[in-house]
Subunit: 388 residues, 4 copies
Amino acid sequence: MHTAKTTSTFFLETRKDTERICAPLKVEDFVVQPIVDVSPPKWHLGHTTWFFEEFILKAFLPDYRLFDTDFAFVFNSYYESVGKRVIRANRGNLTRPSVQRVYDYRKYVDMHMERLLDMNIDNETELFKLLEIGIHHEKQHQELLITDIKYILGNNPLFPTYSEGFEENPLESTSQDWTIVTEGIYEIGHAGSDFCYDNELGKHKVYLHEFQISNKLVTNTEFLAFVEEGGYERFDLWHAEGWDWVNQNAIVAPEYWHKIDGEWHQYTLKGLSKLNLSAPVAHISYYEAFAYAQWKGMRLPTEFEWEIAQVHFDWGSRWEWTESAYLPYPGYEKADGALGEYNGKFMVNQKVLRGGSVATPNNHTRPTYRNFFHPQLRWQFTGLRLAK
Amino acid sequence: MHTAKTTSTFFLETRKDTERICAPLKVEDFVVQPIVDVSPPKWHLGHTTWFFEEFILKAFLPDYRLFDTDFAFVFNSYYESVGKRVIRANRGNLTRPSVQRVYDYRKYVDMHMERLLDMNIDNETELFKLLEIGIHHEKQHQELLITDIKYILGNNPLFPTYSEGFEENPLESTSQDWTIVTEGIYEIGHAGSDFCYDNELGKHKVYLHEFQISNKLVTNTEFLAFVEEGGYERFDLWHAEGWDWVNQNAIVAPEYWHKIDGEWHQYTLKGLSKLNLSAPVAHISYYEAFAYAQWKGMRLPTEFEWEIAQVHFDWGSRWEWTESAYLPYPGYEKADGALGEYNGKFMVNQKVLRGGSVATPNNHTRPTYRNFFHPQLRWQFTGLRLAK
Amino acid sequence: MHTAKTTSTFFLETRKDTERICAPLKVEDFVVQPIVDVSPPKWHLGHTTWFFEEFILKAFLPDYRLFDTDFAFVFNSYYESVGKRVIRANRGNLTRPSVQRVYDYRKYVDMHMERLLDMNIDNETELFKLLEIGIHHEKQHQELLITDIKYILGNNPLFPTYSEGFEENPLESTSQDWTIVTEGIYEIGHAGSDFCYDNELGKHKVYLHEFQISNKLVTNTEFLAFVEEGGYERFDLWHAEGWDWVNQNAIVAPEYWHKIDGEWHQYTLKGLSKLNLSAPVAHISYYEAFAYAQWKGMRLPTEFEWEIAQVHFDWGSRWEWTESAYLPYPGYEKADGALGEYNGKFMVNQKVLRGGSVATPNNHTRPTYRNFFHPQLRWQFTGLRLAK
Amino acid sequence: MHTAKTTSTFFLETRKDTERICAPLKVEDFVVQPIVDVSPPKWHLGHTTWFFEEFILKAFLPDYRLFDTDFAFVFNSYYESVGKRVIRANRGNLTRPSVQRVYDYRKYVDMHMERLLDMNIDNETELFKLLEIGIHHEKQHQELLITDIKYILGNNPLFPTYSEGFEENPLESTSQDWTIVTEGIYEIGHAGSDFCYDNELGKHKVYLHEFQISNKLVTNTEFLAFVEEGGYERFDLWHAEGWDWVNQNAIVAPEYWHKIDGEWHQYTLKGLSKLNLSAPVAHISYYEAFAYAQWKGMRLPTEFEWEIAQVHFDWGSRWEWTESAYLPYPGYEKADGALGEYNGKFMVNQKVLRGGSVATPNNHTRPTYRNFFHPQLRWQFTGLRLAK
């Protein structure tokens, strides 16, 4: 990313990838927001574009004119420092701007971005840093696009197919093995000059006690045993809040599982099919991951254990719930201004997930990447790995 | 409607009118449900079609095959006796079937209906009665389509125009006059062989005491005085429930009124413009209508007073809130089966509105027509006429 | 009530009756508010007292000094025009003032009232009218005290007895008979100089069509048949709102009915016992009354039918739901000032009940008395009588 | 606690302390539950007693007969494994059993406990361990009693005094100093044979980076500056969830602060008085503690930093929010059976507090003690100490 050429290429490819993800959709699919966590695909398209306009073009491209002055209002997400936002729950009621107009917006911003990127950008500059964040921000939204599309289609009684080509269930064919990591001081966090988020910074030492960690993700076969043997009915396996969540929402299986005529099915982006037994379990909450581990007499790894042990196993098909709460590393400091709202303000009541998933864009995640969600959420491709 | 020819024509024209109403929409506009009372236009298109399929084609057209067996599930509204319905609040999350497919559904059903209507239908038969209800049912949904479209566009921060040709603000140019109706016995309810709903039947006598009723609807000028003179801040003008509603929802003016830079504007289907002072006030709740009347030292008419007096004034641009609760007439009996769910089961906690509005299709309303809504609702073209 | 003597006696007896009702309670029972509709007995004791202090002593007794200046804040109910009220839902959290102090308050106010009543009060004066209202207001609260005490004790898992002497289940021993009332003009409303509420005034004519009305209230035996034959599971018997209410609250029987080891029991103020089959059914909502009538192929009477027919049957053990909405009579006008808030502002979304109940104080009700509650409420002694 | 004598004394003194705390209350104060977190004092009295009956007397005292078989139902708290509990939110509606009867219950159980404690109890036995837990459990409820009483009285508009003798505002007279702790490996957790909870066990190593920690708690003077300088209006100081909490609850100052005629007051157990400026701030949420630290450009300590540094400062007047989430220590295992529900099932979405407060009973806390609450809660005596 050192020359104008490569930076520009990286930018444009990322932008095209986003549109490639949306290609199989019908216009109607772009509009709705069935739950507060799922944004309309149209909004993702506009919001990622607005990010470049707001933080880069407005500041760095001389004489840049906004595509539409109302769009800041419509496509801001949670940046309280940048004008009044649309209340999140209402995103799914906005039928305008139309999908076509959002694509026009993308085209307009891309054109101006190309003009800007034609100049050489020194990778020490603020512009370069913002550009990097903007691109990675869009990659994050690519993953959300896939999971949000899955939610929109998977909760439709017609169970439409997104794409026959999207394989979300890689086999977990390895045989069960346990890696032993010995007690001692280890280093955690990101080092080097590659891009990372601020929450990975502050490379620091932690003391780990000896532990064992599985080389495999828990599979549907294994999780099905938990379901069938009454795991969702035994309060002693659950956190108090998890148990309330199970009962208030009548949870009896992972998201997208359906028992039809006595047989378990699952909705995937290919449509409705029989449960794929050898695939790693997906779409479970932290509460379910924890209860499963309790049932096995084991536990989830901490994020530090995961980071140290990850050289010993394959990962990347499921985001893996850890036992760790999402908290700042020693010496963590929020960036100034609007970008300071990116990570730090979420550091309460969330759990860290490590790894990556079938929906994660290429080269987007890394061993130090800290994903985080509230413990009850299931619409991401979330799974678990046992430790003891 | 005595010959196959005219019945068929009436049916097809109604069907075309529905599609004409939707012509100015973009695909995106068909999908959303911003509040529970507002249905997606796509749903109206499908639901009215399903009505003909479910109650007529399935029963009367030999060898009729359903267009899509899943559609009963998607397009049933509240007919509990006809299979499991989609929970109403979720209609706005269904991106499929697509708009195009719903139009295909309409075409398919219309084609089969035409085939059925080619036969002569005696107007004493059940088929004829169902057909009449189906057509009037669709006309009701035409009005809802217009008000729902207004809500969808009017709550979008971009305030899009629906149609420059839709005039919703006729002038109230008549000078103020009061009709006196003398005390005595009057006849209420529908008579004759023309179509009416079951809730209008049971022609019966009522005793009315002398009253006066205005020849004009209350105008925006008049209602603005109430707004400006603190009507929304004087609890003594309101019902206890109305006062709670005002405070919990921070109501300060009719729906679609916006004070911009110190000047009152209103959203109409033509877009945002300055408040049209000479037009009759629209989009007020019963609570507001009542409070306004209190403020004037007058009251709303009862539905009986309205029905008797209506020969003396023009009506039809606003549904007029009355003081009457929506209750059965003497001798009212629900029809058997699913159609029995049409009216009777709503006869609690709702208020009767009389008249018609700029959104009401031609020939759909009549002097005995009893419209009804919950007292807090405002998304219809609702106004008021004073009595004393 | 023409001499100081009788007025004073009437006042003091009413005040003593209130305390007699509370005599069986423990201090703890005076404090809680298990649902918003049920007020703490302590609050009733204080509120009725505050009414005399606020509207009579402050205005008419020279040099009267308030017992405690904070009490207006604590014991005002809904009189928005008289200072800031305590939010109703919070009444049950106020442990102070103590019960003892509230009794001291009563004593203090009674003493001053006696002093005032020693003067002759002309029954045309405003003072006389306020006094009458104050006394009847307290009688209304006597009935609420009994029903609220029943709710507090009856929802305690220990099912404590209030009093072995309180008989709430008179037998309905009469045999079934139907009174026929012929079509014609009838007079409705209160006449004469006796006390009545403003909502009964405006004697006026109504036109009634011929109807029949039962001489008996529906009994527990009859209502049990509805329960056992699936009345709560047949949506076609219910209003749409009633059906939602049944399902959201999992209603399967009248309030205070408990099926224990396969046998129906009921909680009465004597404690828990087997269901008294020959007693009139009590503690049903309007929705249940309506559904029962539908199930029998009959209906509820209107409040006018009830008022005209009541000379032909016994009434007074249950408040009888009518089909009528609670609306103003022709010519109804709210009183000025705070007392104007007494009745008129509740005239929306409520149903009229006629008659009286085992909890109604002697001489408090009359044939023209219009009680009113929201259709879902059941904690009063509510029952039904059929018409057809 | 090695002889029957001392164990028995420890038990009885703890039991008496509980009743001493309740001595200033009126009967009414024992009954209510103004928010879900605050239990009625009567319930605390009964619940702590039930604990001894359920887990000790039933199991270890031959021929013990329950005082009242309904009490398990009323006084169980959250032990799902021991019968159906009363829904927590409803505790405040139970006027029976009466306060007197609960005291009788305590007397009955104490008498039987004394009989049991007259035997020598080996401190290796399960009985001894249960007894220890039961006593410490009661001490925890003593602290809750004080904070719950404060909430009940402090939210009463009459602001009653609990006790003139309860001093909750010790002066923070020390001058500001910062302790530096150097980087390295430290040991965390409880060692030795003294009583501790299971969540303190698993003595283990942690690696700490160099940090500084204040020798003083933040005072009211300091926190007032944050209030006055707009700390509650600057979103950039808050977690996203904290900001939502501030806005949804209209938070402008710590709990129990009242601005009266332009001057800040606070409610303490002595009644309402002017804000004590030199006292450590109390009754703040974690969100407020965090925002204050952000405003100062510092942070909260982790629970490990606190535990290592605590030898260098005084603590014990306020529970101190830490940055640490409440999570299991390495090797943590829940106890079997009902007591296993004591701590582990709360290890999600809560924050650790260290130290102790003016409401904590003597000898109840210790340097390794891990208190925990949800981040929004304020009714405990919670404060903060800065780190950097």
